[in-house]
Amino acid sequence: MEVQLDFVSSESLSPMGSMEKVAFILARIKKDIIVVLEEGLNPNEEAELIESTMREINTKDFHGIEFYRLDNPPNNLRSKIASYIAGKRFGLTIVGPTRMVRAIKKEPDYLSMLAKGGRKKRRINVQSAKKSTKKGRKKS
């Protein structure tokens, strides 16, 4: 069983607009890659991710996604601005194709995921602002 994980740094996502981020994530998910985002999506982007996923679902090989964010965004104006000043970002987020992600235990500060392999591959990818997707890939 092989699973490919792409780790994406916050620097590489931050220049992207919401739709671009969602397209970036979904393109990988549809290739059976589990994406780990250093910085999570905001609620609006999460809604866009669900909406775009619904448009992409078919009856053959793509039935949707599972995604999990490790912490919550601030829930009121005061904490939002305080977080912004402090430079705090929404937490680590994992997005995977639903047929690969098998079980999850999730609490606000704890996340456990079981995944089964998709296609034949065995890679761990790390993407940063300095390296493009292809350059940043490491094969193991």
């Binding site: 909406e51 039935h63 949707g64 964010r69 009121n76 104006l77 601005i81 999730k106």
Partner: protein
């Protein structure tokens, strides 16, 4: 650490409350557009049916154990509910359940043929999109959660996060309290920033408390 400039938020809160009070006294009071959001099979349509049946004498939609039974937005207008403080006028908008995945095979397990299941899956995906689009058209929202399930799911977090980001007044409804395994405490712990009203849409338990909460916090 004390940060003096954050006092401005207390002033803003006070100003907001004052404005709300003025609106209540002098404002042109209209019926609220109350959206029912939640995950699939949380009991949104059961609640909409109960409210509509009690006050209008008609049901909103079909309820079943099959996921995505509600695949289109269903609206019931001009519901007038008698509460402790007078009348509550509202239009109820029952949304399809929000999900991140739709597999037609989940419908075939309930005896639906493959062709029908695929069509149902297609409709279900459209329903989810429609429900998300409707976030721009509701005045207030009841987030209906199944109190027998773990409330801390990403779907629930995303729905509530979106409502908070858009500033839409929200009450969380802890549904299915008639079932022995229910726990509204888990829901209160998961979303402590929101009012949680435990009810049973199936039996009608605590609905009066819900109406009063809607009138007090959402209108």
């Amino acid at each position: 650490m004390y940060i003096p400039f954050l006092n401005i938020f207390s002033m803003l809160d006070n100003l907001k409350n004052f404005y709300k009070t003025l609106l209540k006294i002098f404002g042109n009071k209209k019926d609220i557009q109350l959206g029912f959001y939640g995950a699939v099979n949380a009991g949104k349509t059961t609640l909409a049916n109960k409210i509509s049946l009690d006050w209008l004498g008609e049901e909103v939609g079909v309820v079943s154990e099959i996921p995505h039974e509600t695949r289109q937005v269903q609206k019931v207008e001009n519901i007038v509910v008698k509460t402790n403080n007078g009348e509550l006028k509202m239009n109820v908008v029952d949304m399809p359940g929000i999900a991140t995945q739709v597999d037609y095979k989940q419908f075939t397990e309930f005896g639906i043929g493959e062709k029908g299941a695929k069509e149902r899956a297609k409709e279900a995906t459209k329903g989810v999109i429609e429900a998300i689009k409707w976030l721009d058209n509701v005045d207030a929202v009841l987030v209906v959660l199944d109190s027998t399930e773990d409330p801390y799911t990403q779907v629930n977090v995303t729905i509530i996060g979106n409502l908070e980001a858009r500033g839409i007044p929200t009450i969380i409804v802890a549904n299915k309290i008639d079932l022995p395994e229910s726990s509204n405490t888990k829901i209160e712990n998961a979303f402590p920033q929101h009012i949680v009203v435990p009810i049973s849409a199936a039996t009608g338990e605590n609905l009066e408390q819900l109406y009063n909460a809607i009138q007090e916090h959402l209108t």
